[in-house]
């Protein structure tokens, strides 16, 4: 998409909530209709700003979970217990409500099929959101870029987009998805448990000689560990891109 189009949308816009999906007990996806949205690339995020009646404002960033789709933008929000913004988005907003946002932002962490691969996607928890935009874009474009996706969850009930991921793993060619559970696995799970450490990455990720483009997203601790392990294993640091959700995100 034209860079000029990306630059145009620099001011706050008021978007309407058009669709809500409760992905897990703590996670909701919100589809927003944004007037004059110029389109975006997978990996871009938006700034969301809430304003209370007394003028108090709070803002957070949320990754766009869907490829560009006219004026529609979908974000996937995890409710943080002590959060200020996330509980509002997951529990208070209803279809028909409006929310103020700005974007698309974050040209550093974007991928589109023309950038090639192989693609290495690694996420912890709700960090999957921007990688889901990448995966969905790859499928939509019927690209043949091979993808390996590694997803770390705390427990079975934390898995976001479970049905869609299962369908992709089953039906799509050239896409491998591996889940691991760090606290408690689902009943009957025979797959992987434990963190995505250096050993796990050595086993599951593309090798450095395959020169993958790696996108790592999630809590700071996980992202740090995975990004440095990948570089340690021999991956080109310039091809390992990271997006960390810090503790101030709530």
């Amino acid at each position: 998409m034209a860079r000029a189009a990306v630059l145009r949308r620099l001011t706050w816009a008021i978007a309407e909530v058009v669709h809500l999906v409760d992905e897990t007990p703590r996670v909701r996806s919100l589809t927003l209709d944004v007037p004059d949205w110029p389109g975006h690339l997978p990996g871009h995020h938006i700034d969301v700003r809430l304003t209370a009646e007394d003028g108090y404002q709070a803002g957070r960033q949320y990754s766009i979970a869907t490829p560009t789709d006219g004026t529609r933008v979908t974000i996937t929000v995890e409710r943080l217990d002590d959060g200020e913004v996330s509980p509002y988005l997951t529990d208070v907003l209803e279809v028909g409500d409006s929310v103020e946002l700005r974007g698309p932002i974050g040209g550093y962490f974007v991928w589109e099929p023309s950038r090639g691969g192989p693609l290495q996607l690694v996420a912890g928890g709700s960090g999957i959101a921007p990688l889901m935009a990448m995966l969905r874009a790859r499928l939509q474009a019927r690209s043949d870029v091979p993808v390996r996706m590694l997803l770390s969850w705390r427990s079975g009930e934390d898995v976001i987009y479970a049905d869609e991921l299962n369908a992709v793993a089953r039906d799509a060619t050239g896409i491998e998805i591996t889940h691991t559970f760090t606290r408690s696995a689902p009943d009957g799970w025979t797959g992987r448990t434990g963190r995505l450490d250096r050993e796990a990455l050595a086993e599951l990720a593309w090798t450095p000689s395959e020169r993958p483009l790696a996108y790592v997203c999630g809590p700071t601790g996980l992202v740090e560990a995975v990004a440095s392990a990948l570089v340690d294993l021999g991956h080109d640091p310039g091809r390992v891109l990271a997006e960390r959700f810090g503790p101030t995100g709530g």
Binding site: R3, L7, R102, Y108, F109, T220, A242, G246, T248
Partner: protein, 86 residues
């Protein structure tokens, strides 16, 4: 580990737009301390009384953003130059 309390320069994306008028996270910045060039989005942002951006290579401060009385000021003393993507 619990002390990694930084986020990425991406988290500053919106603020950089306000100051520069355009998307800047894929702009390249040259650290004034060590001379390494990195995308602003790869720099480490520590959030406290302001946002302190540090070079991912040497750790020195490149950029500091403070919001004082609702005005944003971005201090660029730690970068030698910034080059947006064409």
């Amino acid at each position: 580990m619990t002390d990694a309390i930084h986020v990425d320069g991406n988290a500053l994306g919106g603020l950089l737009i306000e100051v520069f008028g355009r998307e800047m996270t894929d702009a390249r910045g040259c650290c004034a301390s060590c001379g390494t060039v990195n995308p602003l989005g790869a720099m480490r942002v520590y959030r406290s009384a302001g946002d302190v951006i540090r070079c991912p290579t040497c750790g020195n401060v490149t950029i500091v953003a403070v919001v004082i009385r609702e005005r944003t000021r971005v201090h660029l003393g730690g970068v030698r130059w910034i080059e947006p993507v064409a």
